[in-house]
Amino acid sequence: MTATSDVEPRERTETPLHTVGTSVTHDDFVQKVRGSLAYADDWSLPGMLFGRVVRAQVPSARITSIDVGEAARLPGVVAILTAADVPNNAIAEEASGLGMSPVVMPVLAEDRIRYQGEPVALVAAEDPEVAEQAAELVMVATEDFPGVFSPERALEPDAPHVHDSGNEIVEWRIGRGDAERALRDAPVVVEGTYRSQRVDHAYLEPEAGVGWIDGDVLTLRVATQVIEHAREIARILGLAESRVRVIGTYMGGGFGGKEDLTVEPHLALLVWKTRRPVKMVWSRQESLLARWKRHPFVMHYSTGADRDGRILAQRIRIVGDGGAYPLLSPRVLFAAAVTAAGPYAAPEVQIVSTAAFTNTVPSSAMRGFGAMQVVFAYEAQMDRLARAVGLTPTEVRERNFLREGDTIPTGERLDTHVALPEAMHTALERLGPRPEDADGWRVGRGFACNMQPYGRARYFADSASCWLGLEPDGSLLIRIGITDLGGGQAASLCQIACEILGVPMERTTIHISDSALTPPAGGTFATRQLYMSGNAVLQTARELRERLLPVVTDLLGAEPTDEVLFAGGQVSIRDPDRSASLREVVRECERRGVDTAHLTTFHAEAGEFDPRTGQGKTFPDYTYGTHAVDVAVDPETGAVRILRYVACHDVGRAINPQRVEGQIQGGVAQGVGYALSEEVRIEEGVNVAALFADYLIPTSTDLPDIEPIVLEVGPGKGPFGARGIGEPSIAPCAAALAGAIADAIGERITELPMTPERVLRALKHAETAGGDGSA
């Protein structure tokens, strides 16, 4: 096992790539079209029980009693658990370098209910219907407890406390220079307040899993992005961490919603108590009600510039609604703070990014992770600035784009290429001439640029391990702990291994997501998987190849300086043309006692961040892109039709171009929903409509053909110079659409989602009040 720092980003390959860079499919996709892939709910064991969560109906209360008598008497009920049955009833979060959060989240509510949907009890029964019936019969008696339902209110000194330690979850301060003074002195200042809403991941596969005891190992087979939660499960049960095994299934979507614990602790407790296999599947409505959401943000921006539109200072205040428990709030608000000024110069800057507790469903990870919400704000500011100084939106951005070598507000130097001028111009060129208004609809065009981090913050000292083994017949086995949420995470790793070792894709098998059996690679989040696990596979494959090389050279009778090609299941040299099969190579290795398996760990470059100064190392790198869109607005109804949508990102290197396109298109679709129609509506902590019928994700007719443009101009830090693409494409959508709608109606909407009703209101306001010059 070896450790190494960041792989040299500028990969020089003499020979053309044969597998990386091709749009080859993989076995898991074949299973998906066959319908034979076993998702978490597609798994059953004999004697299996069915688990159900009893959830709080009110957002804030004190529990006075829990009566399980009637429920327990229902035939077929095997167990009912409450807080007292949980050995360690606390899930604690490491709050991003500030030490452990003083606030812990109980697995089952003990004396207080802090959000509607909070788990209070668990039921296991022989049939799922009985479990549901029993859950309804559990009587949770409560008395009112004052709650607080908006973060602004929560941060007031006299607000009711969600937790005894106060309502502030975290406050990040990032700054350099004297932004206040710079703003005072700036010839031009544009201000804006922007509001984003609470949204749901709305993956089609609800949370699900099966747990059982295997020997003395508690085993969970669950739809999760993070199999490392096994340790958390062990802690909750009071078991040695080695006695819990989590097997992650291929997910029907994750997007951050399966990043924190979902069914795992409930399953584990029921399995441990009943000693029988237990399945738990959350209903869609339960998922909409009670599972973590994206943070709603309120963002106040003051941007100061000179008369040529060059930004001099930014003062940014972000307040995020963290809901009732911390979860990943500190990290989300951190990512927001680091990227709040956008991919633009900000010589003097003051960013304050705060998350507050409220008595609502907790907010945590969702694709984009804080760095998404801020795009809606900073791109609006850029367009406002353009108008204020008489520049076009492209000119003002060109004047301010960060470049390789510039520093961002945290003081870090960007050490890869910033392809924003290319992305912006390419996207707009692809749109071509503006369409004319037609049939009474008003056409508008907008675009937005963004930067999205890939890889975890450096102070986590991230790592990923990979094991590769060549089998005697020359086929390849890959073992790596990643989880696959549908974006071809596993498939791309195969391509990388095959590229280096020359094994054909169809003779490669990858085993993933098993905390007992696969080397840990970290969870699939933070757009880290290609960067971390891709590099782990690349590194392991390269080192293995290095080890094989002396054997190969001998076999082929080659000179040590000859270039050996590994491709198509063969090793070969030219002049003279000689080749051998990988099977022969492995046989020879066996003969010589050379190990054809290898395990390495890839370590990301670590770094320190000082929360007091707001300076230091944050994210390893960013993916840059621009989305450009043409819309038509119906001035009578406010309906927005997207005529064309172009999404351009520099991914450094596309391991699988078709799949990269698919990631971009999928991100755009989610971004459009976020921009125009999705909202989890909660009033005073009560969810007003937890039906899928009311949660409006885009259908095929709500989207045009999404046109992805994949640029490979600036190598990143991933394998072969790749950059992550999972999150970047969701983030610019709302801003691009806001710009396009503004262009059509004459006013920029600053609150999400931009529903037809909101658009109509803005349009009428523009007509009466003259608009804000957006058109």
């Binding site: 079209v33 066959r34 609800p206 396109e661 698919g662 755009v668 259908t699 999404i706």
Partner: protein, 169 residues
């Protein structure tokens, strides 16, 4: 309350099951008959991951009770392939990368199959409309429409249909 026996055809095979009246067809297909390729996504008839063909017509299996399917014929996505050989529509999905997480894919394939059967030469917009009831959260639909369109065009010209099992490069 007692279970009653029903017999129905699933992908051409007669299957029998003892079911309660309150069990939906979705539940029985998945939990009793092992047809886990039919998915639970919402239980409201909104997402359409539970799509099956009932006597050749697409329905939401979460909105029908199993007892109503007695004597009827159900086709799931597993009824498309011929053993190992994928249906050309499935091949087209693979060739166009039309599945990401794959959860909507069974329903999408069935609805596309039904639609093209009824409208052999659709426009791209007609395909887009036909898929509007099947939610997808991963792909943005573009590649799904590409796959269906390509399948429809290849059907007109069978010579251009890719052979079963071809892995695209």
């Amino acid at each position: 309350m007692r279970k009653s026996p029903i017999a129905l055809t699933v992908n051409g095979r007669t299957r029998e099951a003892w079911v309660w009246p309150h069990q939906t067809l979705l539940q029985v297909l998945r939990d009793v008959l092992g047809a886990t390729e039919v998915k639970y996504g919402c239980g409201e008839g909104v997402c359409s991951t539970c799509t099956v063909l009932m006597d050749g017509e697409s329905i939401n299996s979460c909105l029908m009770f199993a007892v109503q399917a007695a004597g009827r014929s159900v086709t799931t996505v597993k009824g498309l392939a011929q053993g190992e050989e994928l249906h050309p529509l499935q091949e087209s999905f693979l060739a166009h990368d039309a599945a990401q997480c794959g959860f909507c894919t069974p329903g999408m394939l069935l609805i596309a199959h039904e639609f093209i059967g009824r409208h052999p030469q659709p426009s791209r917009e007609e395909i887009r409309e036909a898929l509007a009831g099947n939610l997808c959260r991963c792909t943005g639909y573009t590649k799904i429409i590409d796959a269906v369109e390509s399948f429809a065009m290849d059907r007109k010209d069978p010579a251009s249909t890719p052979p079963a099992g071809a892995a695209p490069r």
